[in-house]
Subunit: 292 residues, 2 copies
């Protein structure tokens, strides 16, 4: 059932992204083409799905959160494009096709990433039908968690860790920031846009934080034991890059236990919410069991 | 007199940037160090100065616009860092010292740029003392003009022009976007934050647009006939990079005439405003005569 829900949402999200990133016959259309190549590609849209579900759970009954949902996906995609660049992870494939710099060259990939990051704030700040104070708060949560004390901070720790190695604690922090921060705020922003009180907002953030850690652990597990065809990218890349992942630190079985534990915590947090959490519960379990 | 005003403002702006980008003893402090290296360096702070002056001209009498002023400077600085990268202009010097990637390596320079862009929206959305609807509007103007149909669009046209050449019209569009957009919105956002009506807001934008074109023309002129010591970067880099600048298209004298013309237009626009425009008039004339 969650498969069908996600597929429907993907189609809706892609239609919105298609409009928001429409080429307009200008000289700079090429950067929009590059951005579209990376973002309109059948991604799972987990983050925007979470955002709109929490918006509904907390009382939103319209499409007004869709621009923020698109913004979250744009920020996620920009981070992948920049992450794949030769000076970073130097990955030639992403989601089963050549990564942005392999397709368009490094300069255009850099600008496509910059563009998606900037357009995220452009489209989110164009949100209508929601009070301005909620929009400002949501924009601030988004920027803070995409920035130095969030996703970028996680990138920095990851980058430094390649040279110096990371302790288990530092690696957990890196996961919380690099992958977790954006998943956490997907839930939190959905709640904020719907006008949730502080207690609900914090419950949403707590759910998202635990799901984010579980999500990254499953990514590590899949990188270790998944296959290229299902993932759309080479497996074993962490090992190849000499990264000391949790799989190496804890062993594959403990890694699976830890992912299950954080999934359980995330599910427990959902009990604090009043709205209908059926879809988000299914998603949470689906993400633990996923094969790509 | 404008020298003294700018120096005072620079000190105030640097103090604000110092607080906004304070290292906090975290593992990711290194990216803040890199960001600080590029932004706290005695830059002229033209854009934030314009923003706060228009805030005052349109009735603001407090420091509430300072976070947006810092945000504008952060976006300007991120664009310089990414512009200097090897895959872009490959410039080794910026403002008289090694550019970010020469100092910290490409990966950290990439992340420092990403961080400054993201933190710009973080600090701007933390603005207090100004109604939320004005903040949302200002954030949208900022993102729109820093994005694909603004600064990044200008970068893209510039990048493509290196290969295919640009007509005079396309080059003018490139200037309007790459340099002009951020200068234009500095004036416009100052007005919006102060609660200016549409007429005043458009006058501010018109001033900024003309100043932006004049500013870029003077940059071309200085690149052609300035010297390394005054500029803090190599001269003749446009010619070296094979760029067909306006100096080449129009000749140096016509270029100077065009810069003077846009400066005059900018000054004429100021007459539409009610507030005290003494400082901004002086700045406008100073920018035409500057040697760096």
């Amino acid at each position: 059932m969650i498969d069908g829900l996600l597929m429907n949402f993907q189609a809706k999200m892609d239609a919105r992204l298609d409009i928001l990133l429409t080429e307009s016959g200008q000289l700079y259309d090429s950067v929009l083409s590059a951005a579209r190549y990376s973002i309109i590609d059948g991604g799972k849209r987990i983050r925007p799905f979470i955002l709109t579900e929490f918006y509904k759970i907390c009382g939103g009954d319209d499409d007004c959160a869709m621009n923020f949902a698109a913004a979250i996906e744009m920020i996620h995609t920009y981070s992948l494009i920049h992450d794949d660049l030769p000076c970073m992870d130097n990955d030639d494939f992403r989601r089963g096709k050549p990564s942005s710099h392999k397709q368009f060259g490094e300069a255009m990939a850099l600008l496509a990433g910059d563009a998606l990051l900037t357009e995220a704030f452009n489209v989110a700040s164009k949100t209508i039908g929601i009070p301005a104070d909620r929009i400002v708060k949501a924009l601030n949560i988004l920027a803070e968690n995409a920035g130095v004390s969030g996703m970028i901070g996680g990138q920095v720790i990851d980058l430094q860790g390649e040279k110096t190695g990371l302790t288990a604690d530092d690696r957990l922090l890196m996961y919380k920031l690099k992958t977790g921060a954006l998943i956490k705020v997907s839930a939190q922003i959905g709640a904020v846009l719907a006008g949730a009180d502080t207690e609900l907002e914090l419950a949403a953030a707590e759910y998202g934080e635990n799901l984010g850690i579980a999500f990254q652990l499953v990514d590590d597990i899949l990188d270790y034991e998944g296959d290229f065809e299902a993932l759309g990218k080479p497996t074993g890349s962490d090992e190849k890059n000499g990264k000391v992942t949790f799989v190496k630190l804890l062993g594959i079985e403990n890694c699976k236990l830890l992912a299950a534990e954080h999934t359980k915590k995330a599910l427990a947090t959902l009990n604090k919410l009043q709205g209908d959490t059926t879809n988000i519960k299914e998603l949470t379990e689906y993400l633990l069991e996923r094969k790509n």
